[in-house]
């Protein structure tokens, strides 16, 4: 199976060809927004950190920023720093240039002499990159170039019963065709981690999965938080999910049944092909942020209660099996899986049908969140700002 994509010199192919306007710190975020709004083909992200952070937070932010820049859906990058951020924009640029051969330029607002002068230079740079990007022709790419991130958010009981099993079926079929998929949200493995770990390709991976859950619980405990007090969320409870275990057992079904070949840290790039898991927050926007930084070129997002969220770099396909949610939020939902609940179709059937839906998205079909230009991110944090 093949799709039309943008071949890259390193790593997987892109399914989009964006020029990314990347702030190196929060102080660059607004200028990045203005630059992206001036140049067709450019997208920006809003960063709320990059300064006054403990070392572990800085490391996480750097993983996300470099990961975004290296994401296959990005053609080239314009970095906007202030000049006094923790990791200076030049250093960030050099780091990215060490990881990828794609074009990267950077500007510092203090050096350039303020917002307007910086924006002027950055707009010219972004315009030139966008003009080049538009000349790149799509080529036939094997489905093995696809790394599909699988997310769930705003879950209710329909998620675990219908939506996640259907996406799990999709994942199995894609993996059988040679693609790779990734699930994350490790707090939402807790209570189902023993079931997830049964899919491990090796005993080491089995134990890594259990260890990730143990570490997550201990991390939250150190911050005075019982993971069972925050999960399930009030929305999950209203939607019929009573315990973290129940939520997790439904949640993990979206990863399908194929052997898990790799356990990744947050925002880390996979080295294997097949079913991959990543240790991220349960907070959906943060989890998607980390998976995009890890190189996912498409995201499928299952929801029960409905959510509008989207990512600037990677199309997010929204699927729900809650008929009421689909009706009420049709402007945000891409796929209606409610026939599984009514018994008109099986989750296997609808999971199979979604292979074509994902292929369409790879070939350029815009998801609703993408058409709206949504750009949500959340960089996970270890500790308070300093």
């Amino acid at each position: 199976m093949q799709f039309w994509g943008y071949k890259r010199k390193e790593g997987r192919a892109g399914i989009r060809n964006h020029v990314l306007i990347l702030p190196a710190c929060a102080c660059g975020s607004e200028s990045a927004r203005v630059v992206a709004s001036q140049v067709r083909g450019a997208v920006n992200i809003v960063l709320n950190t990059g300064c006054s952070d403990v070392a572990a937070n800085t490391a996480m932010t750097q993983k996300v920023l470099t990961g975004f820049a290296c994401n296959p859906n990005v053609y080239g990058v314009v970095i906007l720093g202030l000049g006094c951020e923790t990791v200076p924009h030049r250093e960030l640029r050099e780091k990215i240039q060490g990881m990828t051969s794609k074009p990267v330029v950077s500007f510092g607002i203090q050096d350039e002499g303020g917002t307007l002068r910086t924006i002027e230079k950055a707009v010219r740079a972004a315009r030139d990159l966008a003009a080049e990007a538009a000349m790149q022709q799509k080529e036939r790419c094997d489905i093995s170039e696809l790394l599909l991130g699988i997310e769930c958010g705003g879950s209710d009981a329909t998620s675990g019963i219908a939506c996640n099993p259907a996406v799990g079926e999709l994942s199995d079929r894609l993996i059988d065709l040679g693609a790779s998929t990734m699930i994350s949200e490790s707090i939402e493995w807790i209570g189902g981690e023993h079931v997830l770990a049964r899919r491990a390709a090796t005993p080491e991976i089995h134990n890594q999965i259990i260890q990730v859950c143990q570490n997550y619980e201990e991390h939250l405990r150190a911050a005075g938080q019982d993971c069972r007090a925050g999960q399930p969320t009030p929305g999950n409870k209203a939607g019929g999910l009573s315990t973290l275990d129940e939520k997790s057992l439904g949640c993990i079904r979206k990863g399908g049944t194929r052997p898990i070949v790799e356990v990744l840290e947050q925002a880390e790039r996979p080295s294997k092909t097949g079913a991959i898991v990543m240790d991220t927050a349960g907070y959906d926007i943060s989890s998607v942020t980390s998976m995009v930084a890890g190189g996912c070129n498409a995201i499928v997002f299952t929801t029960g209660r409905g959510t509008p969220t989207g990512n600037a770099i990677v199309p997010v396909l929204k699927v729900t099996a809650n008929a009421q949610t689909y009706r009420k939020m049709e402007d945000n939902m891409d796929v209606d899986l409610s026939p599984i609940i009514t018994g008109e179709k099986t989750y296997q059937q609808m999971g199979g049908e979604m292979v074509q839906t994902i292929l369409d998205v790879c070939n350029g079909r815009m998801t609703k969140a993408e058409a709206y230009g949504f750009s949500d991110i959340a960089v996970d944090h270890i500790c308070r700002f300093v």
């Binding site: 009981a157 981690e193 079931v195 143990q214 409870k237 019929g240 129940e246």
Partner: protein
């Protein structure tokens, strides 16, 4: 009789209602080719769970063939199983390692 609930695994002692069920009305779920019926002991909202048997205090609640929690109080057959009357049991990670 119309199906208004689903049992996800034969080992489960709860079903998930896929429509709101009023107190005293039938909860109908498929079991293979057959339909099974029990009476709702109270109103149960859509997407929420009903007990298939009398659950004692501290008893295991099973969905997906797995334990999703234990009961805080006895729950009668046909009763509403929710975050109000069941709780999550901490994991024993060390014992899960192989």
């Amino acid at each position: 009789m119309e199906v208004n609930a689903l049992r996800l695994d034969p080992a489960d002692n709860v079903v998930t209602c896929v429509a709101p069920v009023a107190k005293g009305s039938p909860i109908v779920y498929p079991d293979g080719e057959e339909l099974r019926v029990l009476e709702a002991w109270e109103d149960i909202p859509i997407w929420h769970k009903a007990a298939l048997e009398d659950l004692p205090e501290g008893g295991e609640v099973r969905k997906y063939g797995e334990r999703i929690g234990r009961t805080k109080e006895p729950i009668p057959r046909g009763g509403w199983v929710s975050d109000k009357n069941i709780y999550s049991v901490p994991r024993d990670y060390d014992q899960e390692m192989i």
